[in-house]
């Protein structure tokens, strides 16, 4: 095999693997944010919340 084929295969399989890994990591990062947001909403007692004063 010559250098072009070797570099080509490294690009094809390496980049695909990196993109797949990046997708998984991005998914986890966004999922963690959504979960944190949901937990923050769950922690609030929305029914007892007073409307904020217009003066403040």
């Amino acid at each position: 095999m010559n250098a072009y084929a070797v570099v080509g295969f490294l690009v094809a399989f390496g980049a695909s693997g990196c993109y797949a890994a990046f997708t998984v990591l991005e998914g986890r990062r966004v999922a963690a944010k959504v979960l944190a947001l949901q937990q923050a909403v769950d922690a609030q007692d929305l029914h007892s919340a007073e409307p904020r004063s217009q003066d403040s």
Partner: protein, 265 residues
């Protein structure tokens, strides 16, 4: 209170079963993509080079056409989802999420096609890129147009106006896909003509053909797996963005009311 806990137990059970099924499908697709790509990488090295004249560089036929095919598939998925969003009867924000995911994946695969083509071109034609070549120039334009679509999605706006904007951008960009594909037939280019998609017998046979077809299957499975994950990311990003956007819109509206009434904030 979590939104899911407000649902009746039957609906909750169905929902968790659906989530479990989706996870199983995602896991199976991911594992299949990994195994198939590993097999393709072994076969691409062990199978003889398919072209005597081009020599060893022609081994790139085992990956380059497959990545081009996946970019076409991604752009076709993108435009179908865009049309489904634009059609009032089928309009759902989920189509926009899928369209965004497909555009992102398409940009990645067309970039890879471009790079692999440049490497192959350097090995056989002696040049990485030639702007006056129809296939190379049209592929570059395709990449730039879909980069534009992906960038349009990043601009801050409501999900509806973002979906409309990117759907129209997708329709415009997709016009270039057939131009790229048929450029080798419509113009004289350095790029070779079709190997498989032609009326007569394919230009290769035996193990090289089997390896090439397997690479199409492997990259298509990878595309399906990526679609599941990227669509989910788009949906979750919207959930986060919606909150920030509502806050920002409320703040701007309040500023506007203050400015109109002439009362300093």
């Amino acid at each position: 209170m979590s939104p899911s806990t407000n649902q009746p137990p039957q609906a909750e059970g169905r929902r968790s079963r659906l989530v479990r099924d989706r996870q199983t499908i995602s896991w199976l697709l991911g594992a299949s993509a990994f195994v198939l790509l590993a097999l393709v990488s072994v076969l691409a090295i062990t199978t003889p080079a398919p072209d005597y004249v081009q020599g060893e560089a022609s081994r790139l036929i085992y990956v380059h056409p497959a990545t081009a095919w996946v970019s076409y598939a991604a752009f076709a998925t993108n435009v179908v989802c865009a049309l489904l969003w634009l059609w009032p009867r089928t309009r759902k924000i989920g189509w926009d999420h899928a369209a965004g995911a497909a555009a992102h994946i398409g940009v990645f695969f067309v970039s890879m096609t471009f790079v692999l083509g440049a490497i192959w071109g350097r090995g056989t034609w002696g040049t990485f890129f030639r702007l006056r070549d129809a296939r190379m120039a049209s592929t570059l334009v395709l990449l730039l147009m879909y980069l534009g679509v992906v960038t349009l999605r990043q601009l801050p706006s409501s999900p509806t106006s973002r979906a409309r904007r990117t759907a129209l951008g997708s329709l415009l960009a997709f016009v270039n896909v057939p131009i790229v594909h048929f450029s080798v037939l419509w113009w004289d280019t350095l790029h070779q003509g079709p190997t498989l998609a032609k009326p007569e017998k394919p230009s290769i046979d035996g193990m090289p053909l089997a390896t090439m077809l397997l690479s199409f299957v492997a990259f298509t499975v990878l595309f399906s797996w990526l679609m599941i994950h990227r669509t989910r990311i788009e949906r979750w990003n919207d959930a986060l963005l919606g909150d920030d956007l509502d806050t920002a819109i409320t703040a701007r509206q309040a500023e506007g009311r203050v400015a109109r009434s002439g009362i300093p904030a």
